[in-house]
Point group: C2
Chain length 338, copies 2
């Protein structure tokens, strides 16, 4: 499935957009989000008051001394707390904590009320379920335009099992290991080519990758961004949905969801009703239907040449594999959770 | 496939490791790599000399003014160039540029000789095939322990199509969109439940996710880290391989591969031969075989209850889907590449 590097270069030679970021902040943000990041919640405490911000500006900085950095928006309601605190904690989110990320990005007043946490040794809240936690003393602060850079000296850390949550191109994602790496299912299969079990699993993995890639290229060829397609589908499925709820339904970042809503409103594809809810216009509904039909046609085309009897065996077998995998795991967890 | 949050908390309550990072740099590095990042190559030029470093310390900083930051190891051979340059360019790598990432992390003298690049408007090399490129003036520099922080003011940017390369938990990865997001195959299927095409594709996607997750939990339960399993498999498959080549074969970061080699050597599971190559010891070979057998037993167990005739139809059908997807794409590219 590798393409020749020549074709690669040709396909990518033309920028989707370019310019001076001072002229267009949204363009700058779209370009920045080409760099994938994890998601961290930074916390601090001041007496009985607790503060938290969700950031994707975390970065490792120095091993010796052990330093890390992140930056905070000067407009953040927690800016004063973080600009003067002596300690803070960085909580790295797992792939299962999208909800927690949203919760701490929201405008809820007491964000710690419904969350499982405990104070660390310097008082900063440590959140449960994270895959790493760093308790830091504030080492230095630097000006960073509309943000301030905070450097922390790590005093204590913890690492937990789990996969990281990734934020990439405006969407929450999970990292997929390279399937050809040694020790991964496809590579084990290649090593033992005559083993039926390996061949079947490898085939499922490969089919998934081939279909994902074909689907993605098809969408790009249609010129519809993922954000726009998701917002259209969501507003269609939930007419009257509030702007604030769109990000949650679409698995998009708050700003990316808002940008897509603004783009669709500007093109008269959706409207803000008097009750503050979003609704598709007739042309928005038509675009959404046309996208849906194209995806469906694409998917039907994939199956056109397969005999119906084979499809029914395929369905039955995959269903069985999924069911037994899920059952096994539930059984294991029930035991380990005792 | 969601677990109850109670089980979640129980499973994650105990850290894999914890402590003061000043006592154990490798532990600190493992904790830091729980935060996924993209991969960027930063370049600059000084007359006819060109410099480049591969980093995962990139971060967005400010929208107004448009600032970004990254940090450079004070021990880097390019440190002097970057500590005095007036301009630099940040090139964000796509998921198809693992090789380029390695190339610029390697010790090759003229790294630009075999690479497709062109000078930007301020002279810094811009690399082909990247998904975003930022041409910056050096705005400020700050001390960061064993690194130096560089802040760039973005003067010009470009965005290209493509998926980002992700570096997470020491491995190169690609971001997988949340399958339940609206507009994704599984969600389209849920919206149109009576459409056969959607059901089949959804089933393949779900089977892949269920098997991946089961496989991953199985590996964790065995207590073998991904890095160690991959290095064992690689040295077994390539006896005499040099340490420098292990990272490339395992899709691990250079340091993570070196750490795994060091861990295996310390446990007498592999040895450095007199020719500088790596070889498994008898106990290393035995561990590798035992891991392989466990994976195989796991995979066989998944298929145990499926009738052989169904497996053969499953194989045939998936193979056909993969082949036609790949053929279609090759045909499309041949046209668009003209």
């Amino acid at each position: 499935m590798m393409r020749s590097s020549d074709q690669q270069v040709l396909r990518k030679a033309t920028p989707v957009e370019q310019g001076n970021p001072a002229d267009d902040q949204r363009m700058f943000r779209r370009c920045l989000s080409q760099y994938g990041t994890g998601v961290a919640i930074v916390t601090t405490a001041d007496g009985a008051s607790r503060f938290a911000v969700t950031v994707n500006s975390f970065s490792s900085l120095s091993l010796d001394p052990p330093l890390l950095l992140w930056s905070i928006d000067r407009k953040s309601r927690s800016f004063d707390a973080f600009s003067s605190c002596e300690h803070f904690a960085v909580n790295i989110l797992s792939s299962e904590q999208i909800e927690l990320s949203r919760h701490f990005s929201s405008k809820i007043t007491d964000k710690f009320a419904d969350v499982d946490w405990a104070p660390g040794r310097f008082g900063s809240p440590l959140l449960s379920g994270c895959i790493a936690r760093f308790e830091c003393s504030a080492e230095a602060r630097h000006d960073g335009g509309d943000h301030m850079i905070l450097i922390g000296r790590v005093q204590q850390l913890e690492r937990f099992e789990g996969m990281p949550l990734i934020f990439s191109q405006g969407q929450y994602s999970i990292p997929l290991e390279h399937p050809d790496a040694p020790g991964e299912p496809a590579a084990i299969a290649a090593e033992q080519p005559n083993t039926l079990a390996n061949n079947v699993l490898q085939m499922i993995f490969n089919a998934h990758h081939a279909l994902s890639e074909a689907f993605d290229e098809h969408r790009r060829a249609e010129g519809v961004s993922i954000a726009v397609a998701r917002v259209l589908a969501t507003v269609h499925g939930h007419p009257g949905i509030k702007v604030d709820a769109v990000a949650g339904q679409t698995y998009l970042g708050q700003r990316d969801a808002e940008d897509a809503v603004a783009e669709l409103a500007q093109k008269s594809l959706l409207v803000h009703s008097v009750d503050g809810g979003l609704r598709l216009t007739p042309s928005g509904a038509a675009l959404r239907e046309s996208i849906g039909e194209r995806w469906l046609a694409f998917q039907n085309a994939q199956l056109e040449s397969i005999p119906p009897a084979d499809i029914s065996v395929l369905m039955r077998t995959l269903k069985r594999l999924i069911e037994q995998t899920t059952q096994e795991r539930t059984a294991t967890e029930a035991v380990s959770g005792e």
